[in-house]
C-alpha cells in the first residue's frame, strides 16, 4: 500500500482495486453485495476495504442490514468520502484552457478558463500553472487536499508514458507532458487523450456506469470516439484507439493531415466543412457560422457539403457498430451546433452501412458543455488512485 501522502495508486491487490472501483462508481454498496458481484469472499472484501477506510477514502454508512449466521457482524454499506481528496482537470484546446476542481465523485467544485495565444508547449505549460494556481488558491480551500492533475489533449497520447505523441491541432509531437506539467505545477499528473478522458468520466461517473459496451462519438474540429468494450475503456495496445475520425470511408476522397485518404475527419471535420464550403461558394474568407447560415438558407451546394460530411460520420459510426457492437452510441461535440444539417445524413449513413442487427444500436445525441471535457480529465486523475 502506498503511503497516504504519496501519489501512487492506493490499491495494490486485484481485490482492493475491484472493491474501490465498485464503490467509487456504483456505491454505496454493502460488503455482501460487493462480495457477490465481485466473486470474492466477505473476508476478502473486508480485508481489501480496511486500508481504504483507514486512509479516509471509504467510509461506512450506518448499518442497514445484518447477514447470515454471523449476526454479530454488521454489513454497513461502504461509500466514498467525496471530499477526502480533490483533483484538478484541465482540457487543452488550440485557443483556450478549461480547468475544473472535482471531488472524488467528480462533482465540479470550481472552474476557470484561460485564453491561449501561443500553443507551444512552453507557453501552454506556463498557462496551466497559472490556471492551477487560480483554481487551488481560490476561496474553496482545495490546495491542501489536492495532489493530482489530469490533462486532456486531443490526438495520439501515450497515457502510460505521459507523452503527447502527436496532437495535430496543437502541432505538438512527442511532448513529455506529464513530466513537464508535474514540474510546472508540483502535482502528480496523468495525461490522456481528451475523448478517452471524457469516456472515462461517462464510464465511471456518468451514463456508462455498468454498461458492458458503449461508444461516445465527438463531432467538431476533430472527430473522435471513446469506446468501452467488455466493461472497460479501450486503450489500444499501441496507444491508439477510438480514432473514428481516421477511418477511411472514401477510397478516392480528400487527403487527410494524418497521411490517410478519405478519412471521416477530412470530409466532416470543421476545417473540411469550411474548406469545401469556401470552394463551392468561391468565398475565400467564409467562416463556419457563415457556411451554416448559407446552408440553412437553402444553398444547395453548401447543404451538399454538410450532407457529405454527415454521411461520412454515419459511415464511421456504422464501422464502430459493425466491429464492436456497442449497446448504444452517444454522439456529441461542438460540431453538433450544425445538427440540423448533419443529423439526418449521420443517421442515413449509419443505417445504410450498419450490418444486420447492428442497425438496432440506438444513436443518441446530447449536448456537451466544454467544462465536461475538463471534468473528464479530472476523472482520469481520480482513476490514477486505482491500480488498473
Amino acid at each position: 500500500m502506498s503511503s497516504e501522502t504519496g501519489t501512487g495508486a492506493l490499491t495494490e491487490t486485484p481485490a482492493a482495486t475491484a472493491v474501490f472501483t465498485a464503490v467509487l462508481t456504483e456505491g454505496p454498496l454493502s460488503r455482501v453485495s460487493l462480495a457477490r458481484r465481485l466473486g470474492l469472499s466477505s473476508a476478502a472484501v473486508t480485508k481489501a476495504a480496511r486500508p481504504l477506510i483507514e486512509m479516509g477514502y471509504l467510509r461506512e454508512l450506518a448499518a442497514t442490514e445484518r447477514t447470515g449466521p454471523g449476526a454479530g457482524r454488521p454489513a454497513s454499506p461502504l461509500a466514498v468520502q467525496a471530499d477526502r481528496e480533490f483533483f484538478v482537470g484541465v482540457k487543452i484546446t488550440a485557443d483556450e484552457l478549461i480547468g475544473v476542481v472535482c471531488d472524488l465523485c467528480t462533482e465540479v467544485r470550481a472552474s476557470a478558463h484561460r485564453p491561449l495565444s501561443d500553443p507551444s508547449p512552453g507557453a501552454v505549460l506556463a498557462e496551466v500553472a497559472l490556471l492551477v494556481e487560480e483554481l487551488l488558491g481560490g476561496p474553496g480551500g482545495f490546495r491542501e487536499r489536492t495532489r493530482r492533475l489530469g490533462i486532456a489533449v486531443s490526438g495520439d497520447v501515450d497515457r502510460d508514458g505521459g507523452l503527447v505523441r502527436y496532437s495535430p491541432f496543437l502541432r505538438w509531437r512527442n511532448v513529455p507532458l506529464r513530466e513537464r506539467a508535474a514540474e510546472a505545477t508540483g502535482l502528480a499528473v496523468t495525461v490522456e487523450n481528451d475523448v478517452k478522458a471524457l469516456t472515462t468520466a461517462e464510464h465511471w461517473f456518468g451514463e456508462g456506469v455498468g454498461a458492458e459496451s458503449f461508444a461516445l462519438v465527438t463531432v467538431g474540429t476533430g472527430i473522435g470516439c471513446g469506446l468501452v468494450v467488455n466493461g472497460r475503456l479501450v486503450s489500444g495496445s499501441h496507444g491508439v484507439a477510438g480514432e473514428i475520425g481516421h477511418i477511411g470511408v472514401d477510397a478516392n476522397g480528400p487527403d487527410c493531415h494524418c497521411g490517410g485518404r478519405g478519412c471521416v475527419e477530412a470530409i466532416a471535420g470543421t476545417h473540411a466543412l469550411v474548406r469545401r464550403s469556401r470552394e463551392c461558394t468561391g468565398r475565400a474568407g467564409l467562416t463556419l457560422d457563415e457556411a451554416v447560415a448559407l446552408a440553412r438558407g437553402g444553398d444547395e451546394d453548401v447543404r451538399a457539403v454538410f450532407a457529405r460530411g454527415g454521411t461520412a460520420i454515419g459511415m464511421g459510426i456504422a464501422a464502430v457498430a459493425n466491429l464492436v457492437g456497442p449497446a448504444r452510441i452517444v454522439v456529441s461535440g461542438e460540431g453538433l451546433a450544425a445538427y440540423d444539417l448533419l443529423g439526418e445524413h449521420i443517421r442515413a449513413g449509419f443505417e445504410r452501412q450498419a450490418f444486420g442487427a447492428a442497425v438496432e444500436c440506438p444513436l443518441s445525441i446530447r449536448p456537451l458543455p466544454f467544462e465536461q471535457w475538463a471534468r473528464g480529465a479530472a476523472a482520469v486523475s481520480i482513476q490514477s488512485l486505482v491500480a488498473l
Copy 2:
C-alpha cells in the same frame, strides 16, 4: 451446480467460472497461482474447484509444492481431464460440411466431410445428423461421452438465441438452428458465427491465450474479423461484431448484398473479384483461378482488380487498428491463395490509413486449414460448459 448428466453450464459462481476457465486455457495451474492471478483466496479456489474435480473435469496432478504456514496442505496443480467429455464441431459452408470431434483441450480426435448439394435448412440439418452419426458412431467410441455440438455458420448469428438471423451465402434468414439441430442430433447445441468461433478457439486454446486484445481477419468469399478486446471476445450488444467486411471504405463504391455501399467485401470478397475480373476482361465465364492466373501473367486490368481489393482490405484492417488497437492482427483465410496479388496492397492500404502509432500493430499471415473452422465450432461448444 447442474447435474453431471445435464447440458447446462458446469459452473455457477464467478469464482468457479474463473477457475475453470483459467485451468482450461492456461493450466495446469496450482491453487496458489490461481488465487494470485484471479484475486481470490486459496479457500475460494479450493471451494470452486472441488465440484469440478468430483465431476471429473479437473484433476490434481502430483503435488509439486507446499505453501505457506499450512504446510500440511499440498498445492497440487490442477489440470483438465481432456477425455472427460468430447465435443462435436461442425462448420457449414455453402457446399460442404466439415466436422470434427475434439476433446476438452480442443485436440481433434476425428474428422469427416460431407458435400452439400442443397443449402436449405432442412437438407443441411439432415446432413448434419448424418455427419454427427458418422463421427460418433465410428471407431473412436466417442458417443458415450459426447453431449454437445457446436455449429459455426457465416453471417449474423444470435448465439444466445441460437438463431441464424442472416447468412447470405446460405441464403438463410431467421433459422432457429440451435433448436432444429438439437432435434436432429439429440445433442445440446451452441450456434456461433464462424469467425467468432475461430477466434474463440485461438483465444482459449491457440495463439491468443493470455492476449488482452487481438484480431483475426479472414479473407475469402466473406471477409470477417474476430476481435478480442480487454481479454474477451467481442460479441456485440446487438449480436453483430467483427463485421470488417461491411465497413464502407468507398462512399461511391459498388453496392453490397447487405444493403451497404462500398463495403470491403463488395470490393475484395471472392465474388466481387471474379465479377470485376469478368467485367474488365469481357469473359463472362471467368473463374477465380483463371483471374488469378491472368493477373499473375501480367494482365494489368485484372491486377488492378486485386490491387483495389487488397487496398480495401487494408483500409478495413486499419479501421480495426484505429478503433480498438489490437496487440496484433492475424490475416488468414482461403482468399489468401492469392496473397501474392493482394498482400502488398493490404499492407499499403493498412499503412496509409493506420493513424499514428496504430501502424506499429504487426500484421501476420498464416494458413488456416478448413478443419480449423470446425475445431472453432467445437471450442464454442466447450465454452458452453462455463457460465460466461
